[in-house]
Protein backbone atom coordinates (compact mmCIF):
# COMPACT_ATOMS: atom_id res chain seq x y z
CA UNK A 1 0.00 0.00 0.00
CA UNK A 2 1.39 3.39 -0.98
CA UNK A 3 1.61 6.10 1.67
CA UNK A 4 1.72 9.70 0.58
CA UNK A 5 3.94 12.00 2.61
CA UNK A 6 4.01 15.73 2.15
CA UNK A 7 7.02 17.33 3.79
CA UNK A 8 7.37 21.07 4.07
CA UNK A 9 9.93 23.76 4.84
CA UNK A 10 7.51 26.31 6.24
CA UNK A 11 9.15 26.53 9.64
CA UNK A 12 12.60 27.14 8.14
CA UNK A 13 11.23 29.64 5.62
CA UNK A 14 9.41 31.56 8.34
CA UNK A 15 12.60 32.00 10.30
CA UNK A 16 14.53 32.97 7.17
CA UNK A 17 11.91 35.63 6.47
CA UNK A 18 12.40 37.79 9.51
CA UNK A 19 11.26 35.20 12.04
CA UNK A 20 7.70 35.44 10.80
CA UNK A 21 5.20 34.07 13.29
CA UNK A 22 2.54 31.50 12.42
CA UNK A 23 -0.08 34.18 13.06
CA UNK A 24 1.54 36.57 10.58
CA UNK A 25 1.82 33.87 7.93
CA UNK A 26 -1.79 32.85 8.54
CA UNK A 27 -2.97 36.43 8.07
CA UNK A 28 -0.94 36.82 4.87
CA UNK A 29 -2.28 33.66 3.22
CA UNK A 30 -5.82 34.02 4.55
CA UNK A 31 -6.21 31.05 6.87
CA UNK A 32 -6.38 30.52 10.63
CA UNK A 33 -3.28 29.99 12.76
CA UNK A 34 -4.50 26.48 13.54
CA UNK A 35 -4.32 25.60 9.85
CA UNK A 36 -0.74 26.86 9.58
CA UNK A 37 0.14 24.77 12.66
CA UNK A 38 -1.47 21.70 11.06
CA UNK A 39 0.22 22.25 7.69
CA UNK A 40 3.60 22.87 9.31
CA UNK A 41 3.27 19.69 11.38
CA UNK A 42 2.37 17.73 8.24
CA UNK A 43 -1.04 16.85 9.63
CA UNK A 44 -2.99 18.65 6.95
CA UNK A 45 -2.24 18.75 3.22
CA UNK A 46 -3.20 22.22 1.98
CA UNK A 47 -5.18 22.86 -1.18
CA UNK A 48 -3.22 23.85 -4.28
CA UNK A 49 -4.25 27.54 -4.08
CA UNK A 50 -3.16 27.69 -0.43
CA UNK A 51 0.16 26.01 -1.26
CA UNK A 52 0.76 28.65 -3.95
CA UNK A 53 -0.17 31.47 -1.58
CA UNK A 54 2.28 30.17 1.02
CA UNK A 55 5.04 29.83 -1.58
CA UNK A 56 4.41 33.34 -2.92
CA UNK A 57 4.54 34.77 0.58
CA UNK A 58 8.12 33.47 0.85
CA UNK A 59 8.94 34.34 -2.81
CA UNK A 60 9.86 30.75 -3.62
CA UNK A 61 8.36 27.99 -5.76
CA UNK A 62 5.85 25.48 -4.39
CA UNK A 63 8.46 22.70 -4.66
CA UNK A 64 10.76 24.64 -2.38
CA UNK A 65 8.06 24.71 0.27
CA UNK A 66 6.47 21.29 -0.20
CA UNK A 67 8.17 18.01 -1.07
CA UNK A 68 6.16 14.98 -1.98
CA UNK A 69 7.45 11.53 -1.03
CA UNK A 70 5.80 8.39 -2.29
CA UNK A 71 6.83 5.51 -0.03
CA UNK A 72 5.71 1.89 0.03
CA UNK A 73 4.64 0.31 3.33
Amino acid sequence: MAENNLNNQIRRLRFENGEMTQEQLADKVGVTRQTIIAVEAGKYAPSLPLAFRIARTFNVSVEQVFQYEDSQI
Binding site: Q22, A26, T35, A38, A41, P46
Partner: protein
Protein backbone atom coordinates in the same frame (compact mmCIF):
# COMPACT_ATOMS: atom_id res chain seq x y z
CA UNK B 1 -9.45 25.82 20.95
CA UNK B 2 -11.74 27.46 18.43
CA UNK B 3 -15.49 28.11 18.68
CA UNK B 4 -16.47 24.88 16.91
CA UNK B 5 -14.38 22.83 19.36
CA UNK B 6 -15.85 24.63 22.38
CA UNK B 7 -19.39 24.09 21.10
CA UNK B 8 -18.68 20.41 20.35
CA UNK B 9 -17.12 19.81 23.75
CA UNK B 10 -20.09 21.44 25.49
CA UNK B 11 -22.53 19.36 23.44
CA UNK B 12 -20.70 16.11 24.24
CA UNK B 13 -20.52 16.89 27.99
CA UNK B 14 -24.20 17.92 28.27
CA UNK B 15 -25.33 14.97 26.15
CA UNK B 16 -23.38 12.47 28.28
CA UNK B 17 -24.71 14.13 31.46
CA UNK B 18 -28.27 13.90 30.14
CA UNK B 19 -27.73 10.27 29.15
CA UNK B 20 -26.34 9.46 32.61
CA UNK B 21 -29.31 11.11 34.34
CA UNK B 22 -31.69 9.30 31.98
CA UNK B 23 -30.16 5.93 32.85
CA UNK B 24 -30.44 6.75 36.57
CA UNK B 25 -34.13 7.65 36.15
CA UNK B 26 -34.80 4.45 34.18
CA UNK B 27 -33.14 2.38 36.92
CA UNK B 28 -35.13 4.25 39.60
CA UNK B 29 -38.36 3.66 37.69
CA UNK B 30 -37.47 -0.01 37.21
CA UNK B 31 -37.21 -0.43 40.99
CA UNK B 32 -40.48 1.52 41.56
CA UNK B 33 -38.91 4.42 43.43
CA UNK B 34 -41.74 6.75 42.53
CA UNK B 35 -40.31 8.57 39.53
CA UNK B 36 -43.01 10.40 37.55
CA UNK B 37 -42.93 10.24 33.74
CA UNK B 38 -42.49 14.02 33.54
CA UNK B 39 -39.12 13.65 35.27
CA UNK B 40 -37.75 12.19 32.04
CA UNK B 41 -37.95 15.65 30.48
CA UNK B 42 -35.17 16.79 32.82
CA UNK B 43 -32.36 14.68 31.24
CA UNK B 44 -33.68 15.66 27.79
CA UNK B 45 -33.41 19.32 28.80
CA UNK B 46 -29.90 18.77 30.21
CA UNK B 47 -28.82 17.00 27.01
CA UNK B 48 -30.27 19.77 24.89
CA UNK B 49 -28.85 22.58 27.03
CA UNK B 50 -25.51 22.27 25.19
CA UNK B 51 -27.02 24.08 22.22
CA UNK B 52 -28.42 26.89 24.39
CA UNK B 53 -25.12 27.29 26.27
CA UNK B 54 -23.20 27.36 22.98
CA UNK B 55 -25.37 30.11 21.49
CA UNK B 56 -25.24 32.32 24.59
CA UNK B 57 -21.69 31.76 25.86
CA UNK B 58 -19.40 31.22 22.89
CA UNK B 59 -18.93 34.34 20.85
CA UNK B 60 -17.24 34.51 17.47
CA UNK B 61 -13.48 33.78 17.46
CA UNK B 62 -11.10 36.72 17.56
CA UNK B 63 -8.97 37.53 14.52
CA UNK B 64 -9.66 38.51 10.94
CA UNK B 65 -9.91 34.94 9.68
CA UNK B 66 -11.96 32.52 11.73
CA UNK B 67 -12.97 29.94 9.13
CA UNK B 68 -10.89 28.50 6.30
CA UNK B 69 -10.59 25.50 3.98
CA UNK B 70 -9.50 23.13 6.76
CA UNK B 71 -12.44 24.10 8.97
CA UNK B 72 -14.71 23.62 5.95
CA UNK B 73 -13.30 20.12 5.39
CA UNK B 74 -13.69 19.21 9.07
CA UNK B 75 -17.26 20.53 9.05
CA UNK B 76 -18.05 18.53 5.91
CA UNK B 77 -16.66 15.31 7.40
CA UNK B 78 -18.49 15.97 10.68
CA UNK B 79 -21.79 16.46 8.83
CA UNK B 80 -21.18 13.19 7.04
CA UNK B 81 -20.47 11.44 10.35
CA UNK B 82 -23.66 12.91 11.82
CA UNK B 83 -25.70 11.75 8.84
CA UNK B 84 -24.20 8.26 9.03
CA UNK B 85 -24.92 8.05 12.75
CA UNK B 86 -28.56 9.07 12.26
CA UNK B 87 -28.93 6.55 9.46
CA UNK B 88 -27.66 3.75 11.73
CA UNK B 89 -29.75 5.05 14.64
CA UNK B 90 -32.97 4.99 12.59
CA UNK B 91 -32.23 1.44 11.39
CA UNK B 92 -31.52 0.20 14.92
CA UNK B 93 -34.47 2.00 16.52
CA UNK B 94 -36.86 0.81 13.82
CA UNK B 95 -35.99 -2.83 14.35
CA UNK B 96 -35.49 -2.67 18.12
CA UNK B 97 -39.22 -2.97 19.04
CA UNK B 98 -39.55 -6.07 16.82
CA UNK B 99 -36.47 -7.63 18.38
CA UNK B 100 -37.58 -6.94 21.95
CA UNK B 101 -41.39 -7.20 21.79
CA UNK B 102 -41.87 -9.54 18.85
CA UNK B 103 -43.71 -9.21 15.54
CA UNK B 104 -47.24 -9.33 16.97
CA UNK B 105 -46.77 -6.61 19.61
CA UNK B 106 -47.76 -2.97 19.36
CA UNK B 107 -45.92 0.17 20.41
CA UNK B 108 -47.32 3.54 21.52
CA UNK B 109 -47.49 6.27 18.90
CA UNK B 110 -45.21 8.41 21.09
CA UNK B 111 -42.40 6.19 19.79
CA UNK B 112 -42.29 8.33 16.60
CA UNK B 113 -41.53 11.75 18.20
CA UNK B 114 -39.13 10.05 20.63
CA UNK B 115 -37.37 8.56 17.60
CA UNK B 116 -37.21 12.01 16.00
CA UNK B 117 -35.82 13.74 19.11
CA UNK B 118 -33.33 10.90 19.56
CA UNK B 119 -32.20 11.28 15.96
CA UNK B 120 -31.53 14.96 16.58
CA UNK B 121 -29.43 14.19 19.64
CA UNK B 122 -27.65 11.37 17.82
CA UNK B 123 -26.76 13.67 14.92
CA UNK B 124 -25.49 16.45 17.22
CA UNK B 125 -23.47 13.98 19.32
CA UNK B 126 -21.84 12.23 16.35
CA UNK B 127 -21.09 15.56 14.69
CA UNK B 128 -19.53 16.93 17.88
CA UNK B 129 -17.39 13.83 18.39
CA UNK B 130 -16.25 13.98 14.76
CA UNK B 131 -15.27 17.66 15.13
CA UNK B 132 -13.36 17.01 18.36
CA UNK B 133 -11.57 13.97 16.91
CA UNK B 134 -10.57 15.75 13.72
CA UNK B 135 -9.30 18.91 15.42
CA UNK B 136 -7.73 16.93 18.24
CA UNK B 137 -5.89 14.59 15.92
CA UNK B 138 -4.55 17.46 13.83
CA UNK B 139 -3.73 20.08 16.46
CA UNK B 140 -1.64 18.13 18.92
CA UNK B 141 1.71 19.78 18.23
CA UNK B 142 3.48 22.54 16.38
CA UNK B 143 1.88 25.58 18.03
CA UNK B 144 4.00 28.59 18.89
Amino acid sequence: MNRAQKISLTMVITFLLGLFLGVILIVMRFFDLGVPKIAFLFPVFIAGSGGIISITCFKKDKGAITFDERDKLIEKNANLAGFGAVYLYVIVMSFLPIGILGEEASIPVTWCPVLLIGAGFCQAFAQSIAILVQYGRRDKDGGE
